[in-house]
Symmetry: C2
Subunit: 350 residues, 2 copies
């Protein structure tokens, strides 16, 4: 493999730049063919780097004078803050100076930047954000969970195809199952988007469609890829996070409210942690923005060094397996099929 070059937003996330720089250093040690460019505040990055040893020939720094805040309106931020780490990193992917960009910063800015600055692969209607969510069975790719709120059926079909390629190549799972998020198992259930999309997915030979997945079954991991519009996908993601956080908090409060509870908790904490470890989202990497001319990964805002390292590793697999090449191929094939269908139909007309 040629060297993989990743641009990393060193300023993104709650624990930047310590966590981002540390994650980069760790990833460089794991992969000898990896090059990382850190983007951000030069002084702050250098002061973190100073305390660490790293392969200096594979780690470079691009100083940026601006930062995009989490709360900033993303479109305006992308337009105005041309010297921010997000805009600079995206531009490096666009120009071919980098193969991938990773950021734990503003989701909105990453989404807008991906579309506007990096740009779509030919044939991709809308690039979706796919979240890897931990389940009882391993993990599922929930796609779209943030980019396209008012989606169309043809977009969801592409989400399913791109998501399948991703799971197959990056998570090494053969013939990944695809489900559509729905409010019942029967084919006649759903809103108009689901009803229109269902037969298209069913007819798609390129995916392993298993039908509807109800929200209550999402935590069980019944499908490898779950397609949906970004409004519903975001609700699933946030309900999952919110419910788990609230419940764990209530359990802790309940245990700590009495002596017996405290003793019991002290004894049980080991086995409990072990059993809940698989739900630690850090292990699973960031959310890939699929269908762009290059890879963009949005890491969680709360990412620590491990989460950043995993997100960087994710890019390595994506690149090694040529996921974008496969997506391009798939999209071109679909476009060709559509053209043939159209010319056959117009042939029948005349």
């Amino acid at each position: 493999m040629e060297n993989l070059r990743i641009a990393l937003d060193a300023m993104g996330g709650d624990h930047a730049p310590e966590a981002t720089v540390q994650g980069a250093v760790e990833a460089l040690k794991e992969h000898e063919d990896l090059k990382i460019t850190l983007l951000g505040d030069e002084d702050r990055i250098r002061s973190v780097l100073k305390e660490r040893t790293y392969p200096a020939d594979r780690l470079s720094l691009v100083p940026c004078s601006e930062t995009i805040d989490m709360a900033e309106p993303p479109v305006a931020a992308i337009q105005k803050k041309k010297d921010s780490s997000i805009v600079r990193g995206m531009r490096m992917v666009r120009s071919g100076e980098a193969d991938a960009f990773v950021s734990a910063g503003s989701t909105g800015a990453v989404l807008v930047g991906g579309q506007v600055l990096v740009g779509r692969l030919k044939g991709v209607e809308r690039p979706p954000l796919g979240a890897l969510i931990p389940t009882k069975n391993g993990m599922s790719l929930l796609v779209d969970c943030g980019a396209n709120v008012d989606a169309r059926p043809s977009w969801l079909v592409q989400f399913a195809e791109m998501g399948s390629i991703y799971i197959q190549k990056v998570l090494k799972k053969d013939r990944p199952t695809v489900g559509i998020l729905n409010i019942g198992a029967e084919e006649e259930k759903g809103n108009s988007l689901v009803k229109e999309t269902f037969p298209l997915l069913k007819a798609d030979q390129n995916i392993n469609f298993i039908g509807s997945v109800e929200a209550r079954d999402v935590p069980l991991g019944l499908a490898d890829v779950i397609v949906t519009d970004a409004f519903s996908g975001n609700i699933v993601l946030k309900m999952y996070e919110g419910t788990a956080k609230m419940l764990v908090g209530e359990v802790k409060r309940g245990l700590m409210s009495s002596l017996l509870g405290k003793i019991g908790a002290a004894l049980a904490i080991g086995p409990l942690k072990k059993s809940l470890k698989k739900f630690d989202s850090k292990k699973y990497g960031g959310a890939p923005l699929l269908g762009l001319r290059g890879l963009v990964v949005k890491a969680h805002g709360s990412s620590d060094a491990t989460a950043i390292r995993v997100a960087l590793n994710q890019c390595v697999d994506f690149y090694r397996e040529d996921v974008n090449g496969l997506i391009k191929e798939r999209m071109e094939e679909a476009a060709k099929q559509k053209r043939e269908l159209r010319s056959r139909e117009s042939g029948q007309d005349s």
Copy 2:
């Protein structure tokens, strides 16, 4: 108060008719002005009643020869099974023989029956299903969680108004807060439905609108009433149930996998149960179908006698506080305002 007459689907739910009959007997003992009609299989109901004492003058039985299964397509079931407990119960509300109908049976059949057989109050565009969900702070009414998947902004405004009246009168909470389910806190966030509905809710003087509620904050109980379309609402409800169930299962499995875990769990189980008790949905009653000419309550399929009793009590409060009278008034007022606005506009035109 005049006698309140409730028709109860004795055959609905996983534990019918034992749980339904027992719940009815308990509710009759609590309310001396309550009359209940049990609908369903005569022999089975009588065999449960035989073992119990109850005020026979306030408990009657209407034998029904048919049952609507959970999996049956609801529209066809409602049309064909005219002697089912659901159809008979709905017809009793329609004809004025009963004030309310409670069922733990097929949600689809209850929704279709409510619309088709009971009918809407004048001015109500679409009757929504409102679920009472337990939260860290008490409970919230999630409306719509099952009836109208492709909703319009004006429907959501009515959901907010009807939901507010319900919470104020049945749960005795003054000026209940109303939020719209959204994927971000800012006003410009959301899909087109949310963006169009937001300013209408903001301008509505009849409700206490507090803006967007993100899915992750639903378990915290940030708003008393959360309005949304039924597709998103159902996802929230099912993710809540599914995540809690899966996590509790994983915690149990984790604890039971080791001796220390088992001992710890045995010690901590008391305090833990106490702290999680408030999330027991049985305490909160069933899901009211709002805006109908009479009250229809959908109880959970897994309802035990307590859940049925609480759902019957819920009808008592609904009836005593004349919730439907208030909804009617509000809808008429809104229609009047609309007419005035229209005539003023046409006056300006000429």
